[in-house]
């Protein structure tokens, strides 16, 4: 890092870069959430199932996020673990209307938390209980119960209900994530 960059950093002109992994089952709304977080001129209108993964960038007041938007389809889920090392935070998206696959989400989360690249790192995890607009959707409390989130002791985590299509609840989550990353860094 050059002197100028450092200076810009101190003055808050240049934002800190942070890598975030966006994980969750297929059709849970990962790409929609990332799309909503991007500046309105960069948003796309039609969201299609992600193949492999895609890299998206967006900025908040103090951080510059690089998001690895991973595909949630069963056959691509084994790609997730290759990116655990690079990630400094995780966004885990859950379809709160899909009661049947809550066990699958829990299974994937447990596998994730027990992975050697994740297990002993204190990285913040943000959960979005997405699709809260659905009539049969479970509350964020119920989702955290079903996923046994209370067992996560060594990592800061936060769950918020969201509706990615309308953009509700997303800002709250991202603000929490930003705070966490700042506290860990300083």
């Amino acid at each position: 890092m050059g002197l100028f960059d450092k200076l810009a950093g101190w003055l808050g002109l240049k934002k800190k870069e942070v890598n975030v992994l966006c994980l969750g089952l297929d059709n849970s709304g990962k790409t929609t959430i990332i799309n909503q977080l991007k500046p309105s001129n960069a948003q796309t209108q039609d969201i299609v199932p992600t193949i492999g993964f895609s890299i998206e960038k967006f900025k908040t007041s103090s951080l510059s996020f690089t998001v690895f938007d991973m595909s949630g389809q069963g056959r691509y889920r084994n790609l997730w673990e290759h990116y655990y090392k690079e990630g400094q935070a995780i966004i885990f998206v859950i379809d709160s209307g899909d009661k049947l696959r809550m066990v699958v989400a829990k299974e994937e989360l447990d596998t994730l938390l027990n992975h050697p690249d994740i297990k002993h790192r204190r990285m913040p995890i943000l959960f979005f209980a997405n699709k809260m607009d659905l009539r049969e959707a479970l509350s964020s409390v119920k989702v955290s119960q079903l996923l046994c989130l209370e067992n996560i002791k060594d990592k800061p985590w936060h769950i918020c209900a969201s509706d990615a299509v309308k953009g509700e609840g997303l800002q709250e989550g991202v603000d929490w994530l930003q705070d966490q990353i700042r506290t860990i860094r300083t």
Binding site: L25, V104, E107
Partner: protein
């Protein structure tokens, strides 16, 4: 003590493969495997569970559709469903499948969960005599009692069975008969059969969402193939018995194969362009489940066995099960290319078999009555089971689950099934075989000639031995004697013991002498000739003498012993003693 950890291990093992997604023990769902299907009914990428619910008795038969963990819709069915399939009727977009429910002689077709079409099986031929009798009743020419008598006569004799109306009439009380006749006599008689099983057959494309024909088996021992759009009968095939279970593969316009398990305990294979069964598998007990895995057919039998057959009816293997079978289904995981047979058992277990190997066991809280594996919701590997108590259970195959191909059940070790590397037939072997095949007659003659020569040589040698009394048993009737000789000692001096026995019944033998013949350069004997005392019949006389070996070259020779009668030159008996090498001299 040891059972508990083993059970826990087994439980953990099953947990390592399946996630318990949903279990509702009071779903009030009573059904069996032919009445359960998974289909993307709305074309939204989420598969729904379609169940023909048999209800609890004569009522509450329903067509139920589940989405996720909740019931999405219910349609009342008029009669008990015997089978349910989802199939694509046409090429229209969006590609949503229709549901066909077989019940009684009808097939009810639902599109978008609304009744769309009702197909009725063609009625069967009615007995002309029965027709005649009823037309007489219609014109009031005969009273109900004589109608009953005539119908009973027809029932006992005729080739064509009576219609349902006549059978119902025959079981009525005499006082109800009049009203029954008056109510029904105006309608013409019809004889209907019922559907026993239903399946689908792709019309001319093998795609997942290609248009399919319906294939139905009926109580009248027929199999019909129906056109998916017009519901006309495209093909009709006959079986020797009523079908109960059916599996269909192939395409109607190309080549297809219908495997049917029948009520007579046989399995028949029907093919295109053959109105009669092509192959027949005769089972030892009745089939209760039929699943096709690849090109093989796996049959569950009432005798608690699972048997594998090729599609031509050759038996491959048998597996003995711990309990009777309650449900069978195919586990076909497309994206992993994994196929296995799910067998629900009466001891509340589900066994998973790949070929004859038991690869996984699932314990269930209740006995399961139907089983179905496929895409449910958005999850590809979903196992759906309904229980005897009306429960619904959904399990999801873990992404990380691995099935070992090894058999879990104890049995012969793996090494036993490794094939030995037996060399192929060599050129020499082939040449010899060819030679044997070409010259069989000549070889046989040569063998016979040599055999005859051998027999002749043996006979000559025997006669010679007898003539010169070279045998240790005397052949003459006057002096039946037996002798054997034993050599004792290491050398150079040996002890010879001759055991002589008179084998006659009561006559003693006298005036015998023993003489030895040997090479005098090798051996010396103190007494080479001596008299034998009187031989009492039956007793064994050991006669000892000593031999000294003279040579130190480590060679040995034969000493001949003759038993002689005084005044006769030919010996009675001869014995050859193979002398051992003198070890005493060799040591010096």
């Amino acid at each position: 003590m040891s059972a508990a950890p083993a059970e826990m291990k087994e439980h953990a093992e099953a947990n390592a493969k399946w996630l318990d997604a949903h279990y509702d023990p009071v779903a009030n769902l009573y059904t069996f495997s032919p009445c359960i299907a998974l289909a993307d009914l709305q074309g939204d990428g989420e598969s729904k569970l379609v169940v023909g619910d048999l209800g609890t008795g004569l009522c509450s038969m329903k067509l139920k559709v589940y989405r996720g963990t909740s019931l999405m819709s219910e349609n009342t069915l008029l009669d008990l469903p015997t089978g349910l399939v989802s199939f694509h009727m046409d090429q229209h977009e969006p590609r949503t499948p229709a549901i066909a429910v077989a019940s009684g002689p009808f097939i009810y077709v639902y599109k978008n969960l609304r009744p769309y079409f009702k197909f009725t099986l063609p009625s069967l031929e009615v007995n002309p005599l029965e027709q005649e009798v009823w037309s007489q009743a219609k014109e009031d020419m005969i009273d109900p009692m004589s109608l009953k008598e005539m119908l009973e006569g027809i029932r006992d004799k005729a080739d064509i069975p009576l219609s349902v109306r006549s059978l119902k009439f025959l079981i009525l009380d005499p006082k109800e008969m009049e009203a029954f006749v008056n109510l029904h006599k105006q309608q013409p008689i019809r004889r209907q059969t019922v559907i026993t099983c239903i399946s689908t057959l792709k019309k001319n494309m093998a795609d997942e969402d290609a248009v399919s024909c319906l294939v139905i088996g009926t109580e009248s021992k027929d199999v019909y193939i129906l056109d998916p759009e017009a519901f006309t009968i495209l093909s009709k095939m006959s079986l020797p018995s009523a079908p109960t279970l059916m599996d269909v593969t192939g395409q109607f316009d190309v080549e297809f194969r219908i495997t049917v398990a029948c009520r007579n305990g046989n399995i028949y294979v029907l093919r295109r362009e053959s109105p009669k069964p092509k192959y027949c598998i005769e089972l030892t007990s009745h089939p209760v489940g039929l699943v096709r895995v690849g090109k093989n057919v796996v049959v569950g039998c009432a005798q608690e066995t699972l048997q594998g057959y090729t599609q031509k009816g050759k038996k491959l293997w048998t597996v003995y099960l711990p309990a009777p079978i309650t449900a069978m289904g195919l586990m076909d995981h497309h994206s992993r290319g994994f196929q296995a047979v799910l067998v629900g058992l009466a001891n509340s277990e589900v066994h998973l078999y790949r070929d004859k190997n038991l690869i996984s066991t699932i314990k269930t809280p209740d006995v399961i009555t139907s089983i179905c594996f496929g895409r449910y919701g958005r999850e590809e590997g979903t196992l759906i089971m309904t229980t005897k108590g009306g429960g619904l259970m959904v399990k999801i195959l873990k992404r990380t689950a691995v099935f070992e191909d090894r058999d879990m059940a104890p049995g012969p070790p793996l090494a036993q099934s490794i094939r030995l590397n037996v060399p192929k037939k060599t050129k020499l072997y082939v040449d010899q075989t060819m030679r044997e095949r070409e010259n069989a007659v000549a070889m046989h003659r040569a063998f016979q000639m040599d055999l005859s020569r051998l027999r002749l040589a043996v006979a000559r040698a025997y006669v010679k031995a007898l003539e010169s009394s070279l045998t240790p048993v005397s052949a003459s009737l006057s002096d039946p004697l037996k002798m054997n000789a034993v050599v004792q000692g290491l050398g150079p001096s040996f002890k010879l013991t001759l055991n002589i026995q008179n084998t006659a019944v009561c006559r003693p033998v006298m005036n015998l002498a023993v003489s030895f013949l040997y090479d005098e350069a090798l051996y010396s004997m103190r007494n080479a000739f001596f008299q034998i005392p009187l031989l009492v019949p039956g007793l064994n006389y050991p006669i000892n003498t000593f031999v000294e070996c003279l040579t130190d070259k480590g060679i040995s020779d034969i000493i001949k012993v003759f038993v002689l009668r005084e005044g006769k030159s030919a010996p009675l008996l001869t014995a050859h003693i193979n002398m051992p090498v003198s070890e005493g001299l060799a040591l010096n």
